[in-house]
Symmetry: D2
Subunit: 415 residues, 4 copies
């Protein structure tokens, strides 16, 4: 358990990260910030509180003698899924908690920030540094969620939804090229000096048969052709669960596409735009990605194939994968950094433990391991992901029907 980050850098990261979360919500009204349109998402107010609660319960309570909680009732409101941390408000009714208000949560953040900063100044401990770094990485995950959630929350409203009037460039490119990789036994997992989660820890080996991956993500234009073809409604192209999901939810297009008078539009972070055919198709489920791939007699890559591709130096692929846009979070005022990808990329790998994976006991052990069931791994990162929160070994994971994730996919095949 080492953070491998200097105290001064940790301090800067703390200030920047904590500040960024508030900035994400700052142009929104109190009502906007308490929205929760379904049980996938949470109110921004809750995200702001929960990421603060994390510091309070995992750090302050541990390092400060006879620590007095800011407000013991918050523990019940702000816990997410930690069984070891007591009862909690059921996720789907977080919007029913009006008190504390947004302003009170902002105040709560300030007070906890000061306590953490004071602690950080006084105590020099490897473990403390790790825990603070973990809290900040945790908050970065919630930053992406806040943008995902706000996008969906406002989509359901009656007003033209918008977030910020500044676009960021997606890669507009389509290519038919394939990049080939040879078979072999390769190392996977994180074995470096920086921060990582337990689910990506340590080298282990996998045998890969030789394979090819498409250079580009599948585009809106290509997906539109799929929709307009007979293949889209052919059950032979779908997983059984996918076909049932499609019919029960009357799915006819990606989540944020809008069809008006014969034309397709796309709801974006900036409101409604004409559908750009060269942008990668986004906000689609694993089921839709799987069906598209099968309709092309291809398949989705595995998580190991994508990670291997990222590990191989000097491939065209690496270029494609990395040559990206400004992230949304950069637009708020932070340095431009390259992201790994435009979109999180679905893989055909179930989210299961790596060999030698060891789940911690206690509350921190609830971070990853207990979710390893009925989910799929996504690799890369999206323009909603903080750019210093990305690495080759990162394993994101979602349920196959989820679409509010900024997800896309590329094709794979065996040689």
């Amino acid at each position: 358990m080492k953070s491998n980050i200097s105290r001064s850098n940790l301090l800067k990261k703390f200030l920047n990260t904590r500040n960024l979360s508030v900035q994400i919500t700052s142009n929104l009204s109190p009502e906007d910030n308490n929205l929760q349109v379904n049980s996938d998402v949470s109110p921004n107010k809750w995200h702001l509180g929960h990421t603060t609660w994390f510091f309070e319960t995992f750090i302050l309570e541990k390092y400060l003698d006879s620590y007095q909680y800011y407000n013991p009732k918050y523990l019940y409101y702000l816990n997410s899924y930690y069984q070891n941390k007591g009862n909690k408000v059921p996720k789907n009714i977080r919007h029913t908690i009006s008190r504390p208000s947004y302003n009170e949560i902002i105040n709560y953040r300030k007070i906890i920030d000061n306590r953490v900063l004071e602690l950080l100044t006084k105590v020099d401990s490897e473990e403390l540094n790790f825990m603070i770094n973990l809290g900040l990485n945790h908050e970065q995950q919630h930053q992406e969620l806040m943008i995902m959630d706000t996008k969906l929350n406002l989509f359901s409203g009656i007003e033209d939804s918008y977030f910020r009037k500044k676009d960021f460039d997606f890669l507009h490119k389509k290519s038919d090229a394939w990049i080939d990789f040879d078979e072999g036994v390769f190392n996977f997992g994180y074995d470096g000096d920086g921060f990582f989660y337990d689910n990506e820890k340590g080298f282990h080996k996998q045998f890969l048969h030789s394979y090819s991956i498409s250079e580009s993500l599948v585009t809106n234009g290509e997906y539109l052709e799929f929709i307009n073809s007979e293949e889209y409604n052919n059950p032979n192209n779908w997983l059984n669960d996918g076909w049932n999901w499609k019919n029960q939810n009357n799915i006819t297009k990606p989540l944020y596409w809008i069809y008006i008078d014969g034309e397709y539009f796309e709801y974006s972070i900036n409101g409604i735009e004409i559908l750009s055919l060269l942008k990668p198709v986004s906000h689609i489920s694993y089921y839709e990605a799987w069906a598209y791939a099968r309709s092309k007699s291809c398949r989705l890559p595995t998580e190991f194939e994508l990670e291997h591709a990222l590990n191989v130096p000097d491939t065209t692929f690496k270029n494609v994968f990395a040559n990206v846009s400004n992230s949304f979070l950069d637009c708020i005022g932070f340095d431009k950094l390259n992201l790994f990808g435009n979109l999180w990329e679905w893989t055909n790998s179930a989210y299961l433990p790596y060999p030698f994976y060891k789940q911690d006991g206690g509350a921190l052990g609830e971070y990853n391991g207990k979710f390893m069931n009925n989910l799929y791994v996504l690799k890369g990162g999206s323009s909603f992901t903080p750019s210093d929160h990305i690495r080759n070994t990162y394993r994101n994971f979602y349920s196959p029907e989820k679409r509010w994730v900024q997800s896309g996919f590329r094709l794979a095949k065996y040689n």
Copy 2:
């Protein structure tokens, strides 16, 4: 269709009523005013908007040439159940509409108020006066709902809920006395000069067998004895639907009673208080009232028996029924007026049309008639009811399992 109200009185009533609705919400935060904990209740923000929409769609759109709606999108958000007024946001997701904000709705109210006042100054029409009066009576119904809804919304939160730190006196009284009434054919329904709803219109006759009604409402103390006795869990005392409702919802006490360490408390508009045994039991369902009455070998009175009791001059009963407290709405600063009752009183009468009832066509016809199914009539009025919104013939109605209504009951029997 006559309003029988002078224009100057109508003007005063308009100003007072419109102002009162805003006052009810003024001590609450934007988050509070957008709460909706279940599909019975609505956000206060929506109530404020909907009661304004009523004036816009039923009056301004009709009386002003080529009327331009303030915002056509509001029609979709602010319609309640009027099929004749187009599509609408499903009731259970009104909380997902963050825009317009509370402040924008307040602004909307001001603008529509000015338009109505200008119209009222210019046009002197019996029909217009009636429609404005109808709109104000409609708003008074929503004022009661706003208080009921806020009480429930805050009850689910994590903070000590409170509304205003001013109590109003419930009648603290228990008596074993019965008041007797003779049989006969009597007139029912409204046949006077003031405002009334179509469901109470015009005289009709009913035969009543001689009966007795208890002088007092059943009290918390009496209901507590019921809970503590074997009778409470004896299925023979319950309607079949009531027994299933009780078991499926694990009902063990009235909605707002709280049981802590062997003692009962009651959540009130002012927060949590020790249960007062002499106050009438409130916020209970028809099922609970019915079961209590049967356990005492009595029954609930019919709507006609209660209305007849109100119509009979000089009875002790009339006294009891009328000798009441300050209403909650009075506490906000309006004149003290006598209410009819402390609580709406459940009757054993299904909400069905009076003889000769004629449902209007069009949107106004949707006001009452289409709801006459599987509901029960309540008579009287509560301390949440605006005091000038009460009369002998008023027919309130709710589904038998509803408990967020400020409801109570008294016993009846045949002689």
Copy 3:
């Protein structure tokens, strides 16, 4: 509690009634007799057992010393809704009980029949006679249910459903005539010597305003015109609950109508037939009947109006109401008798207690009183009703959306 039936007549009735129930099922397979397509209906096998259980638990267990139940496990399977009689298999999963088989239930019936007959021979008691008569009336209610349920059960199958190849004549008649009745205070309820249920007991008075009732039931042809008109899909014609029910269940026609290639057919007890336009429309809900009546600016009659019409001697109406067909049950081989009606007739009266109604304590008290909530009264009787199970005061009752009842309706209005 008097049965007012001679022992010899009771004996004959016992033999006939018990025999008839078995006959109803005798042309059906074991699989047919264990069908249960939804939770409204029950398997015939269960009906045969439950009506026998009634004699065992309410009579044999009471009159015979140290009575040994035929099989104590049957008590759990064969209880319907009697809370006082212990736990029971939930209604919706009665079809999951394969053992006892149909043949075993037939054997159970024989054994219990013999025990009852022996008891009846030995004991001459007014109370015993009443209880046996009650058991037989109870069984007659289940005979109608068995035919209703079988009709629905087979409707869902893949084979041409049929029951018996013998038709019975519905009244084929349409008239525009109205029959008028004068206002007054009249007696209602049963005050005679024969058998009756507690819900119809004893005279009480009601005031009726003068009214008119249509001579004929609404026909298939008239209802078809309604469906084909704009009125059918006009929400203003429907109760709010009815409109929601119609939309949620995608209702476009009565339950048993079938629409193939532009033509309407009707599924009957004999299989699929061409829709007869002059037959009364049947198997429709209260909601549909209500909507039809409102679209004609009429209403449904109240239960008191229909009962009064039956009580008035020498009216044309009485003729119409009584001049009927063979009942289905007659077809099985019993004497022809006039029924009151072709179909049970929906009324606009909620099923509520009569004045002075006194619900018994104990299990028998569960027969009627505890269901008096959210149901509507039907009067008359249908061709599925045993003909000696019909009388002026009979109060049948169902939930407003139910359609597997053999129900129809006529129109009413005030003069």
Copy 4:
């Protein structure tokens, strides 16, 4: 597509397999054979029909000119999940189809059997042989389902459930021994001459880190200790989905354990027996197996680890895995054969395609590939599995919460 089975052997297999299915149902009543207590299971009558429909639609319809279906309505009833074969009765309401009866289905089987036998005599075709062999393997899967389903169907009834009064020996053994395996790249999948399914086709390579597997399956006694310890209710031992499943379904023990007056019993194919502590624990979910393993700081083996263990010659493990009991199906009168295991064994491998897996187009392509989502692989075979339906490469698969499968598990760990 080769069957690699001689025509005479195929003929014998056809006669034996088709006969065995009927034998499984022959001691049960028509009502028993139409039971369906939930949507996991199907009526035996349906299984008998569906396995016959398979021969009719996939073979007879293809090989016989202008083939006339026995009864076209059966296509609608007897299709399971083949989208390419038209509409079908929804799975959960198969019990609502009383016609055809059991006897009619038996007759249907005889007629189709004769047609297939005649075809087999006349046509000598590699493809036909394969298809018939596929149909028989398909039927063997349903034979196991029939026993699983009957066990569950009768468990819900009120009678002591039983099937046949002949026991078969489970391995009664507990050991603490571990068997170790070295790391390496190994071949997986079926590459032989016999019958196989597409999901196990062809060699591919996987790298395995060195690991150990427990010699014995976890026993009832060991699992009982788990239940009685604090670990059972410690959320840290459970997958998140598993913990929610446990709480929502109030899981306190394996499916067929019964707790009476402080003692545990087990419902078996022969009725209720005292719980045998040395038998392997059975009928538990993946979630329960996973939790047990984690509570012991172990894990479940992967499908590759188990298959590799089976492939390694001369290991103690092979002995353990194979040295088994009579299968249930043997008890009916067929030759005794060794089974692979007592119980299907849960693995920690999601059911995903092997490298190079190619899903067929058309209806046969629906056999396996479309289900590869949110399921886990089970290896081995159970005493309900026909003994010639078992092989090293067999991949069985179920959803992680299913318990009516005859499933158990052993532990694994890395060295």
